[in-house]
Every structure is written in structure tokens, then in C-alpha cells.
Amino acid sequence: MSEIILEAKKINKYFHDPLTVKVLDDITFVINKGEFVSVIGKSGCGKSTLLYILSTMDTDYEGELYLDNELMREKKEKQLAKVRNEKIGFVFQFHYLLNEFSVLKNVMLPGLKLGRFAEKEVEHRAMEKLKILGIEKLATKNASQISGGEKQRVAIARALINDPLIIMGDEPTGNLDKKNSEVVFDIFEQLTKEFNQTLLVVTHDNEFANKTTRIIEMEDGRIIKQ
């Protein structure tokens, strides 16, 4: 029996504009601790939509979502923000760093927001995360001065800063060349193996998905294989 990190129960979602369309249909699954799960499917099958619901950013859905055995539906905007801060790490397709800040500060921001550690300690931890990803040299550079592959690694370091329960990725390799994609995958794999980190990655890169421990395949808003 392994520990359940995330549980989705009968999640339905509709788009109302311009017509009411059902985009997610009875999505039910469980993610256990230490799993490296990939969600695949064609464009428009609803996999990204699902990810946003699971990440608590989208609250307009039916069904139940448990994160760390807590029901998300009852939480308010501010509490959800706290959940995201504390328990979820994000990696997006377009790295989304804040260009106004240095690499180090970018990694530190969610940690400072959480306020679990003093600023010095957060800085120390951020440097450690950067070291794991092999980019500690970039720490003082401005976020706008580094390459795409490096940005994605900084984003992963930022996702790790608060030791989240789960890291979610939305096409984290979608914008990267083959070499950098492999680097990112290797990092993810290292995280699962060495730190028992749970990962949920949405991708349409089948090669990437095939290397993960578990694949959820979606079509037309339904899970067809898991």
C-alpha cells in the first residue's frame, strides 16, 4: 500500500462558450507517492484542461478532487493559493520566469511567499536546488539573459523550492529541442529515483511518455487507458 497523493473522482467539465460542450467526462484516477505519470492524447482531448483542474487553478468543474487527502472544492481562493504554494510545483511549456528578477530570486519567490524559512535559509535552499540541476553558475544572472533550456531548468528548481507533494508539468519539453528535452527528462527521472518525487506531466511527446512509469491516455475528454 503506497501513500495516495492525488485522487480525482468523477470529474466533469463543460465549456459554455459559444455552446455548452463537455470537455471532461467522468475522470477518475489516483496518483501514488513516487509515481512518474504522463498524460498523453491528441490536441483538444482535454489533457491540459484536466491539469489545470488538478492544479486547483481552475475551479469551474464537477466532481471531487483530493490533494493530500484534502477536498479542494471547499477551499477559498486564498486557501487554494496556499495549497499551490505549499504542495504543488509547476513547470510550464513556456518557462514563465519573472524577467524582472535574477535566476536565484525567481527560485526563491515561492519559498519567500510560504515563509516557512528565513530569507537566508530560503536562499541557501534555492542554491541547493540549482546545484541539483547543475545550474548554480546562473544564480546571479537576470532571468531574461539565459537560454530556453536553462530557463526550463530554473523553472524546475522553482517548482522544487517548497518540497512539493507533486510536480505538475504542462508540456515541459514542448518548446525545447531534443537535447534539452532529454536533459529535462533526466532531471525528472533523477527526482523520482533519488528523492521519491511524485510527478504528473502532460505531453504529446510519446517518446517522452514511454519512458515514464505510468501513462494515462486520453481521448475526447475520457481516459481510455491507464
Partner: protein, 419 residues
């Protein structure tokens, strides 16, 4: 902790768009600087114009009016008490103009807590003889020290010395217009005819210029005892007592009380000069409204720039929200940005406003009617500076509120998906 984080994020966002921030802040600076300058200058002018009259006007003036007696004998008679009495063709009585018991009144005023000071006066109508022509005029018998300390008499003396009035016997200070009519200078002797027909020589020791031409053409000043001699009255003869109170606002009440107490007529400054208060009130309102309009314009500038900034920073806002910043945090960040623009813009505005008004303070301003004023008047009232900074903070808060609210409502999913 959280507060510090929000400030540091706001600071980074601000510095990242330094030029835009500067433009917004300069808008506020300009607005505040103009607000301060305008108010300082306008109220400076107001005070000057009011001072022209108010400085020289008593808060309460005790005198005897020439008027018919209120209590006609028939009304006092007990036989006619219950009837309506019609008295035809009443004439003003020949009451004397001198105040009864003037010594006693002055003694009692000296002890009065509400009174800052008082100056006794004699007002005498005379003719100034200039060859074949008699010019009607007024000699004010004054106590020079009291007049100078209470009503700034010495400020209006353009030639000669005011104290000579006391030191040289039978001396007179003429209004500028009057001295020009009589073609006299300091040291000359003029002839004055009293209403009773006596001719009296007086030596000119000074020329004064009040700023009000009509006054300067008819008024002159002499020492009290000179005037008493002129009129052939005893040395307790006084027609007016000009009183300056500690609190100007109480003048109407005090004047009523004194009229009762001393059995004289009493006039307060508010009744005598109502139009001046209205004038300065309207001028103040105009300057405040222009200043506030300037600030509102600056506020719209901030609103625009923050709105643009939010469109530019959509990605950043989305990422902040995705990594655990709540809508409230985002709102605070943008409010801090707005308030920082308001605060620093306002602070520089105060500084520039002060500099600009001190420059205006140096510009020469010579006018014939205002002999004591050499430069444009400026009122450095700290109240304007307080209002300026408070208002700049309020305006920028309001200007920042709506964009910040918008930023807090941005749905990160839409931004992230939209890429």
C-alpha cells in the same frame, strides 16, 4: 515577512519599467508642485489684500453714533405705557461724540482677558487751508505706540518718522494724496481750520501711504493731545476706542457685550468688512479646485500607466498566482506600486513646490498702492504641504485601485493556456 516580499516584488516591477514609472511620478510631482505653488501664492495674495484692510481695522470699535434716541420721553412716561405712541419728525439728538467715562472704559479693557490691546482715537473733521481753497479732511488723533503695535501704523509711513508725531509738538502726518494736493513736504507748516472756525498751524513730520487712494487724499494723523488742543477739548476727550481681540472670531459677540456694558455703539470687524471674507473665501476655493484638478489629471496618468503595466505583466501575474500568490497579494503588489509612485512623486512635488514658491517670493513686486511690499507675497503654510502629500496618496490609491483589482482577478489558466 509577506509585507516585505510584496514590497520587494513591487520595487522590482517598478524599477524594471523605470522610464514609465518616472513619467507617472513626474505627473504627480508636477500636480503637487503646482498645487503647492498655486495655494502658497494665492493665499499669500489673499493675506496681503485682507491685511490691507483687516490689519488696520479694529476687531471691535467703540464709538458714539449720531442717531435719534431710541427711548423717546413719551415712551418712558408711565402714563402712556399701555398705548401706541406716534412721534413725528424725530431728529438725531445732539449727543456728544466723545465717549463717556473713557478713562474708566480703558481701565476695564486693560484687565479684560479677551483683549489683545486697544488704541484710543479722536476723529476730527477739519479743513486744510491751501491759499484760497479749503480741502475737507480728517485728523485722526492717535496714540502712536498703540497704533504701531496693534495696527502696523509705522509700516505705512513712506517719509519721515512716525515717532516724531509724539516727540514734536503740534505735528501732523499727511496722506500722500493730501500732501500732493497741499504741495507740502516734511518740515513745512500747514494751516488747519476746525469746525468751530479756529485756525491752527501744524508741522508736517511724515507722509503715509495706505494703499487705498481715497483714504490718502483725506486722512491725516496727529497725536491725541494735539487733536484735543485743536478741538479745544479736555484731555479725557476720546471719540473712538479701537480694540484688537485675541480671537477675531469672537468679535461679534464681544462687541454686543461691550455695547451693553459701556453704553456706547460698537461695531465688529465681521459686520464692517463682510465682503473681504467672501472675497478671500472664493479665491481660496478657486485655488484648491485648480490644484485638485491637477492632481486628478496626474491620477489618470497613473491609472493609464498601471493599466498598461498590467497588460504587460499578465504573464508575471499568472505565474505569481500559479506559484501560490493569492489575488489579494497581487492586488497589494500593484497598490504598493501605485502608492510608491504617489509617495515619491508627491515628495518631490512638495520640494519643487517649495522651490517654485520661494522663486516667486524673490520676484520684485512694486506697486504704488502697497509701499511695504517689495516682492510677490507667498504663504508658506505647512497645511498646504500636508494636504498635498495626503491628496497625492489618496489620488494614487484610487488610480491604482481599479487596475490592481483587475490584476487580482486575472485567471492564470487563461493566460497560460493562451500562449
Amino acid at each position: 515577512m509577506n509585507v516585505r516580499l510584496i514590497f520587494s516584488i513591487a520595487k522590482s516591477l517598478l524599477l524594471a519599467r523605470f522610464k514609465q514609472t518616472m513619467v507617472a511620478a513626474i505627473g504627480v510631482t508636477f500636480g503637487i508642485a503646482m498645487f503647492i505653488t498655486l495655494l502658497s501664492f494665492m493665499t499669500g495674495l489673499n493675506d496681503l489684500l485682507d491685511g490691507l484692510i483687516l490689519n488696520r481695522t479694529a476687531h471691535v470699535r467703540l464709538y458714539n453714533e449720531i442717531k435719534p434716541s431710541i427711548n423717546q420721553p413719551i415712551n418712558i412716561d408711565s402714563a402712556y405705557k399701555n398705548s401706541y405712541n406716534f412721534v413725528g419728525s424725530i431728529k438725531s439728538s445732539g449727543t456728544r461724540q466723545g465717549l463717556y467715562n473713557s478713562e474708566a472704559i480703558m481701565q476695564s479693557l486693560k484687565k479684560d482677558e479677551q483683549v489683545l490691546g486697544f488704541a484710543p482715537r479722536i476723529i476730527a473733521q477739519v479743513f486744510f487751508n491751501d491759499g484760497a481753497i479749503d480741502i475737507t479732511g480728517v485728523v485722526n488723533g492717535i496714540e502712536i505706540e498703540a497704533e504701531t503695535s496693534l495696527f502696523f501704523f509705522a509700516d505705512y509711513i513712506t517719509e519721515g518718522k512716525s515717532l516724531d508725531l509724539k516727540n514734536i509738538s503740534n505735528s501732523i502726518i499727511l496722506g500722500k494724496g493730501l500732501s500732493e494736493k497741499l504741495l507740502v513736504n516734511i518740515g513745512d507748516v500747514i494751516q488747519v481750520t476746525t469746525p468751530k472756525g479756529e485756525i491752527f498751524p501744524l508741522k508736517v513730520v511724515g507722509i503715509f501711504q495706505s494703499g487705498i487712494m481715497e483714504l490718502d487724499k483725506t486722512q491725516s494723523y496727529a497725536a491725541i493731545n494735539t487733536t484735543q488742543k485743536l478741538l479745544g477739548k479736555p484731555n479725557n476727550y476720546i471719540t473712538d476706542i479701537n480694540i484688537k481681540l485675541k480671537d477675531l472670531a469672537t468679535a461679534p459677540l464681544v462687541s454686543k457685550a461691550y455695547a451693553q456694558l459701556y453704553g456706547t455703539d460698537a461695531e465688529d470687524i465681521q459686520t464692517a468688512n463682510a465682503q473681504f471674507e467672501t472675497g478671500s473665501f472664493v479665491r481660496t476655493i478657486i485655488s484648491y479646485s485648480v490644484g485638485i484638478v491637477l492632481l486628478i489629471v496626474a491620477g489618470f496618468g497613473i491609472y493609464n500607466i498601471l493599466n498598461m503595466m498590467i497588460y504587460e505583466k499578465m504573464d508575471s501575474i499568472a505565474i505569481l498566482k500559479a506559484t501560490g500568490f493569492s489575488g489579494k497579494d497581487v492586488k497589494r503588489i500593484f497598490l504598493v506600486i501605485a502608492m510608491a509612485i504617489g509617495f515619491f512623486g508627491g515628495l518631490f512635488g512638495l520640494l519643487f513646490g517649495f522651490l517654485l514658491s520661494s522663486v516667486i517670493d524673490q520676484i520684485p513686486f512694486n506697486t504704488a498702492s502697497l509701499p511695504t511690499i517689495k516682492t510677490y507675497p507667498i504663504n508658506y503654510n505647512p497645511l498646504f504641504y500636508t494636504i498635498g502629500i495626503v491628496f497625492s496618496l489618496i489620488t494614487t490609491y484610487l488610480a491604482g485601485f481599479f487596475p490592481a483589482n483587475k490584476a487580482s482577478k486575472i485567471d492564470p489558466v487563461i493566460i497560460i493556456r493562451g500562449k
